[in-house]
């Protein structure tokens, strides 16, 4: 998941479809994000490359919509509903996820185990 500036980013991703849950006035997804181009990437415990300024899932609440949909802690979010999340600020990421008009968000997430699984299947 390291990137070379100017080159397209390639990754093995998984599609996760989360149906937001209504709680009172808010629509919640049930996870927390960390990271962003305005944040300090060296403090990210989940990233493989400590200069990676992408958006990572730092917490998944139990029984929430994200956990049901299959989102795991440590996942890096690449796209939300078609919008890119690899080069956004933290606030922009939050906004893209919490749009009131959308009830379903389709995320493209990547994690290290996906890459390894693909490699293993390619070798065998």
């Amino acid at each position: 998941m390291s990137y070379i500036p100017g080159q397209p980013v390639t990754a093995v991703v998984q599609r996760v479809e989360i149906h937001k849950l209504r709680q009172g006035e808010n629509l919640i997804l049930g996870f927390s994000i960390g990271g962003g181009i305005d944040q300090d990437p060296s403090q990210n415990p989940f990233s493989e490359d400590k200069t990676d300024k992408g958006i990572y899932v730092t917490r998944v609440s139990e029984g929430g919509p994200a956990e049901i949909a299959g989102l795991q802690i440590g996942d890096k979010i690449m796209q939300v509903n078609g919008w890119d999340m690899t080069m956004v600020t933290h606030d922009q990421a939050r906004k893209r996820l919490t749009k009131r008009s959308e009830e379903v968000v389709r995320l493209l997430v990547t994690r290290q185990s996906l890459q390894k699984a693909v490699q293993r299947s390619m070798l065998s």
Binding site: I28, F31, G34, D40
Partner: protein, 524 residues
Amino acid sequence: MDTESTYSGYSYYSSHSKKSHRQGERNRERHKSPRNKDGRGSEKSVTIQAPTGEPLLGNESTRTEEVQDDNWGETTTAITGTSEHSISQEDIARISKDMEDSVGLDCKRYLGLTVASVLGLLVFLTPVAFILLPPILWRDELEPCGTICEGLFISVAFKLLILLIGTWALFFRKQRADVPRVFVFRALLLVLIFLFVVSYWLFYGVRILDSRDRNYQGIVQYAVSLVDALLFIHYLAIVLLELRQLQPMFTLQVVRSTDGESRFYSLGHLSIQRAALVVLENYYKDFTIYNPNLLTASKFRAAKHMAGLKVYNVDGPSNNATGQSRAMIAAAARRRDSSHNELYYEEAEHERRVKKRRARLVVAVEEAFIHIQRLQAEEQQKAPGEVMDPREAAQAIFPSMARALQKYLRATRQQHYHSMESILQHLAFCITNSMTPKAFLERYLSAGPTLQYDKERWLSTQWRLVSDEAVTNGLRDGIVFVLKCLDFSLVVNVKKIPFIVLSEEFIDPKSHKFVLRLQSETSV
């Protein structure tokens, strides 16, 4: 079988068992007693016979010798002698000190002083003589010399006065120590002054007195030039004797040989004997007082460790002394005794005891001090109880703390440094100056420098300088010299202060900028 280290223990055990078999029932009782002593406690003492060349199969006489030898560790003078030696050395030191004070071997000291003062007087009177001799001897032939000469007289007078004050300030100070050799720079300066004045007198005698020069102004100017040159020599003396050694160039590490206490001092360019003087002057105020009672424990332990060993010569008499001692040392090192255990528990016990007594002492002193109250001036007439001066007040509260103090001093082995009179005096002193009990106790809780105690307790003020270089040589990196007194010695190691390379770096105050780096987490 070799008589070297490794197998001596095993050879003892095998021979011992052989002996026990061969001696039979006759010696069984006597045989049992050393066996019991061997088996007891931690001391697996390998008590075997001295290497006197007697055959391996001993008879009754050797057996009895072994019984007696079992106790030799406790009765040799090497162990019990230390305490006796220190007391007798104390007496000897006192006696020798008294003797030397009365005889007065100060000739050497006063010789230097008299030479210097005679020379100084001569030098001081020379310009005066130069000026006064022509009018006395050939007044009629002299040219009259008006205001110029009088101006010169005034300048000569004031310069002589300045020279007098400067010489008094620089040279006429009470000599504070007796050193083995002459100070090189001082001797050189005296010689220089002497030659200088002699050459001036020669010139004066030949050119002026003999030829009866008439130019009085010239003569007076000659005298003025002498005084100027003397002032410059005085300046030279200041630079050589005082200023040159102010800049620190060497660091001296002074270690006391008995307990390893060490201090560091910074000095400039000095000769070894002057450096020794500086070290000694600082010794009396920096080092804690030498207490011989604290040293006997380690010697006792070490002697007990080696006490049970003797070298047993299997191959007949041979004079291999070094081999024997090496064998003993190696066997002692290999022995698995628990003397370290003993040391640890002994020290822990001692610590505990001292802390307990200290706690009792602190409480006793605090309670005693509560009773004393200072009377204000106006209350003195209508005092409730008896009015006392500090000495009486000290005597009044002393008994309540005396026992605790005595016990504490005994536990820390300081009791011979403080007599009851000195304690009372100190107590009166503390009461007079309104000190707290803690301030009073500080002197007894920790050992202080030698100056704090009475002069009789100092044990010696005679020192010997031991050095393998001439003591008037200057200090150099790596010189080691030793200052010995009767009881201990101070080993001094000279190290040069390194050459320091200091460079400059400029940081613009506006360049101090900071940024916050966060990692925030938002729940969605």
